[in-house]
């Protein structure tokens, strides 16, 4: 039967979808986000009225308390901390779903249909995995725990057995009386929490974007399953939207790295072959740039004479907090009438779109931020590519070095440019552990060290270059 509530649910879900649709362009995105928010708050009011619980002070206290906390952290968080913030919030959503499922199980188990019993257990498990997985991911991103994958002995066996145990306890809970099912549910929750930790702890730095979008998807899924338990169509619909969105992002990230989701979750392929590569790839990157006059020019001279410059930012820019210097350099080059663009690899940084947010924060116009497929053909006609803290996403070895973890991964083809300036901390391999063959090419200049410092110096020497040039002209 279709009642008023169902109609309202459809309308509100449509609003949420409209909101997301508007988020596909920077011009309408702010509006889109607000429409989504308004739809959500409308949904809360509708649910309160529909269930005749709008006058319960307890509910309002909880909403207010959460709202104030949410407001406080949202206002205070720095853009640089955004990945862990998203992970944290995501975990809370998953946790809330798990708790709802638990309450439902405690209160209504004897009267539940088998379907609700199954869904409530699933919501509990998925919510708990999301909670602990996201918290671990947030801690990793905040560098509270090591960013390296932590892999225990028999990691796979352990986590698979935990998952199996979760399944067993869910089934046990389904076929037992109310009192026992409560206990079993607690066990399920605890096991799921443990699984979440196991799942997230072995994912390392550069695979984080994928993990986060996957967890995002899971939190939506938990909400949707929760909606089935309670029989709330709005919750189901909106949860499904979020689940789907997370899944797509995950898919995009995976294909950008040319790795399957399973590989990343296992974390195995990466480590084995990375070690193999390290031993064979020991050609040091010292002997270079002595032949042609082009190669003798200083980076500042190169930039000064360039007509077209592409800047490639990476996670190193985020660590060194160098985005404001990048912008300064960008302004300087633009003011000299050069064409400057940014090339953003889909998995640069630690979450989808990480670089875009950092550059937007320092007011780089978003039209200048180009996606990989759009910008790759342009490298050949580019005079200077400036790499700021990126390694794996520009490694030409991805096209040639068969058997390495990054083989086949689409990369930014910076080596095709006339000159490349690399402002990285060191020549150590990036997250993938594969030596970057780019560093050995004759037209590549390395400016090693903290990217902020390097850029400061670079900006200064370009400015001096300008002074010397103009003084020469004056004479």
């Amino acid at each position: 039967m279709i009642g008023t509530y169902e109609v309202i649910s459809v309308v509100l879900s449509a609003l949420v979808l409209l909101g997301i649709k508007l988020m596909s362009s920077p011009k309408t995105a702010v509006l889109g986000n607000r429409i989504g928010a308004i739809a959500m708050f409308a949904a809360i009011i509708v649910v309160l009225i529909y269930n005749g619980i709008i006058d319960m002070p307890l509910l309002w206290i909880a909403i207010l308390l959460g709202g104030v906390i949410g407001y406080a952290i949202a206002k205070r968080v720095k853009m640089i901390e955004m990945p862990q913030m998203v992970a944290l919030l995501n975990g809370l959503g998953g946790g809330a779903s798990a708790l709802v499922a638990l309450v439902e199980i405690y209160e209504k188990y004897p009267y539940m249909t088998t379907f609700s019993r199954i869904t409530s257990q699933l919501a509990l498990a998925v919510g708990a995995i999301t909670l602990s997985g996201s918290l671990v991911a947030a801690a990793k991103l905040a560098r509270k725990i090591s960013q390296k994958p932590i892999i225990l002995k028999k990691h796979n066996q352990i986590s698979n057995s935990i998952l199996l145990a979760v399944a067993v306890f869910i089934i046990l809970a389904l076929f037992s009386n109310a009192a026992n099912s409560g206990t079993f549910s607690i066990v399920t929750a605890l096991l799921s929490l443990t699984y979440g930790v196991f799942f997230a702890i072995r994912v390392g730095g550069a695979d984080m974007p994928i993990t986060i979008s996957l967890l995002n998807s899971l939190s939506g899924l938990a909400g949707a399953i929760c909606g089935f338990t309670i029989g709330d169509p709005l919750l189901v619909a909106v949860g499904a939207i979020v689940g789907a969105s997370g899944l797509i992002l995950t898919q995009i990230m995976c294909s950008a790295m040319n790795r399957s989701l399973v590989d990343i979750l296992k974390g195995s392929q990466l480590n084995n072959s990375a070690q193999a590569k390290k031993s064979e790839g020991k050609i040091t990157a010292v002997k270079r740039n002595e032949e042609s006059p082009e190669h003798k020019k200083t980076p500042a001279q190169l930039l000064k004479e360039a007509k077209k410059v592409i800047i490639v930012p990476g996670y190193g820019m985020a660590i060194a907090q160098a985005q404001s210097y990048v912008k300064e350099l960008y302004d300087l080059l633009e003011s000299q009438g050069k064409e400057v663009k940014f090339a953003i690899h889909p998995v640069a940084g630690r979450m989808p779109g990480h670089m875009n947010v950092l550059l937007a924060e320092v007011d780089v116009p978003y039209e200048k931020l180009c996606e990989m497929d759009a910008i790759n053909p342009e490298f050949a006609e580019t005079d200077v590519v400036l790499v700021v803290g990126a390694c794996d996403v520009i490694n030409p070895a991805a096209n040639t070095a068969e058997g390495t973890p990054i083989y086949g991964m689409p990369v930014l083809e910076v080596d095709k440019a006339k000159s490349v300036i690399v402002c990285n901390l060191d020549t150590k391999p990036g997250y993938s552990g594969v030596d970057n063959s780019l560093y050995e090419l004759p037209h590549v200049h390395l400016l090693l060290g903290d990217a902020s410092e390097t850029l400061k110096k670079l900006i200064k020497s370009i400015e001096q270059e300008e002074v010397t040039l103009s003084s020469k002209n004056n004479i």
Binding site: A96, G220, G239, A360
Partner: protein, 80 residues
Amino acid sequence: MVAGILGYKVIKEVPSLLHTPLMSGTNAISGVTILGSLVSTAFAVSLSSKLLGFIAIVLAAINLIGGFLVTDRMLKMFKS
């Protein structure tokens, strides 16, 4: 299901430029589970359930409000 498929279509069109706000936006929306927590807390009988439900509402509200505000802040930075 329908919502999921529609969502899939809509999100496919979002450029990677806006993936972070998209993620934090949908993340905020995943706080929709607050609806469930409101209902089950309101009708919970035992004190422990009420307490759990209360925590659930608080968590979901943080997710919801924090998520939307953060997304708003991020999106405002995208200027041409």
